[in-house]
Symmetry: C2
Subunit: 324 residues, 2 copies
């Protein structure tokens, strides 16, 4: 009745932006990510007949009501699947520091899905686990796998064909991902709200959907060929396009800060000086830089010279879900 799982977070190279089903977390477009080695969540779930409600402990403290409710609603989905009404204690250790500029929902719901399913002996394969994790947070479905991962949007209304699969394992191609923190503090618009507003109001959203699947195919081909330059170009352009769709929303959404722009121009200048580095930016102000491992140290040091960069953490492709 209990189990512990560990999941790493992931960074999208081709972005997930917009849902076709809010309840099932079904995306409008397929996406592609790298699971990272440095940031993870370890979660223990223990179901018990002795509980009359769920409890969620996060980093040794009782989690906020809004965080707890997300977890409890997700447990409801798992209970329904397992045909049980038992409550659980969920204990999470979250090693995705805010200072890294990553959301913790991907690793969080991947670890929770894996631990809860194992605790209830659901015997899900990775695909089924990916489908389950997706219903906690869309991007969590990618963190089930290590390395380079594609999330196929799927076509079905029930979401049974919307899951992730591995393209390359973390051992097959090592690249460096440098996470640059340029601004901390709560975002004014959540990703969830941002993608919803964009899909509903931006005149650019159809242009996004019309080109993102082609971006994905080109990115997959670049990964297959280990062609870093091609991958970098596609990834950077895809991130710019995602942010462009938000600028057209009503009212407009602007996640970038002056430091975001400083890092973007710095990376483009590094390329002019012959270093192959590219950026990507999620729904927030922080920038993630991709480069080859041989350039990692130079890129790292150059980023630290920028006035607006508060912190840089180096990551590499990491493993999928494991059980402790």
């Amino acid at each position: 009745m209990k189990a512990t799982a560990k999941a790493n977070t992931n960074i999208a190279l081709i972005k997930y932006w917009g849902k076709r089903d809010e309840e099932l977390f079904l995306p409008m477009n397929s996406s592609l990510s790298i699971t990272l080695d440095s940031f993870y969540t370890i979660t223990n779930v223990e179901f018990s007949r002795n509980l009359n409600k769920d409890i969620f402990m996060l980093n040794n403290h009782q989690a906020s009501e809004s965080e707890s409710n997300k977890v409890f609603r997700f447990l409801d989905k798992i209970r329904k699947l397992a045909g049980t009404h038992l409550h659980a204690v969920v204990t999470s250790e979250n090693k995705v520091p805010t200072a890294a500029g990553f959301a913790s929902s991907a690793s969080g719901f991947a670890a929770l899905a894996a631990a809860a399913a194992k605790a209830l002996n659901l015997e899900l394969d990775e695909r089924e686990l990916s489908i389950l994790a997706r219903q906690g947070s869309g991007s969590a479905c990618r963190s089930i796998y290590g390395g380079y991962v594609e999330w196929q949007r799927g076509e079905r209304a029930d979401g049974k064909d919307s899951y992730a699969k591995q393209l390359l394992s973390e051992r097959d191609w090592n690249i460096s991902i440098l996470s640059c923190l340029v601004a901390s503090g709560q975002k004014q618009v959540s990703s969830r709200e941002g993608m919803k507003r964009t899909a509903l109001t931006s005149p650019f959203y159809s242009g996004w959907l019309n080109t993102v699947e082609k971006d994905l195919e080109r990115a997959k081909e670049a990964i297959r060929l280990r062609d870093f330059e091609s991958l970098g170009k596609i990834v950077e352009a895809n991130a710019l396009k995602m942010h462009a769709t938000m600028l057209g929303a009503e009212p407009p959404i602007l996640y970038w800060q002056s430091g975001t722009m400083e890092v973007m121009h710095h990376i483009q200048n590094l390329r002019l000086s012959g270093i192959s580095a590219y950026f990507t930016i999620d729904a927030g102000p922080n920038v993630k830089v991709l480069c080859l491992p041989e350039d990692e140290q130079r890129v790292y040091e150059s980023l630290l010279t920028l006035p607006s960069v508060q912190n840089v953490i180096i990551c590499h492709p990491g493993a999928g879900v494991s059980y402790l």
Copy 2:
């Protein structure tokens, strides 16, 4: 055979972005601008039988070959209209400092069109002059008029219905336009190239065209009602949309710098503190801020406190073409 004209530059509130005819400078969409009082070009044109080539003197120096050729090609169009082969000396005094972050082509070609047409006794009315100026630089057709000006895209292939007209004179509604210089130096991508690449490659360009005419109608209504808040919201959103279309171009075009972003967030924060101020940004990094005259001094002083703002110049609606 000689004449002198003065024209002010203008700032677009609803942007001109993309041509349907490169040679005739016919736009894909209608636009709306304010002619400004502070930045102008004074141009003298003298045709003579004693010249065997054109000469272009800019601010007391012979202009560069590329600048001169634009002027000479424009003179060719005027000569064709007048049925003459005479060459001319063009002497321009350009009071559109680079430090103001404005392009000088609007005031430059408006003054040149007016002076050259008068020197050749073409007796054009303002509409015909607007059509002529447009063929030197699109936005020049708006600088023929003072105050609030609309440039109707027109439908005809010959451009005869693509000209500007005045919505309100400069005396009818005074607002403040603060020009903030955040970065100097040559742009990496010219407006001409930027709009061309966007129209050809950006998946967002159709979304731009689908909404810009509605923006224009709403802006005209706000001007008619002297509704500054409504106008500001539309203007700011329209500028963001124009820049968004470029982020989708292949390769992407990013005119913003970190200082651009700093001013944008500053203005949005000013609004949170109750000051009604809005920004617009042309194809470059500098920001123009709109506010009401009663807030002008406070906005001006607050902009000067920003580390990345090098210079702020206050403008107001100004007059159309005049003859000296």
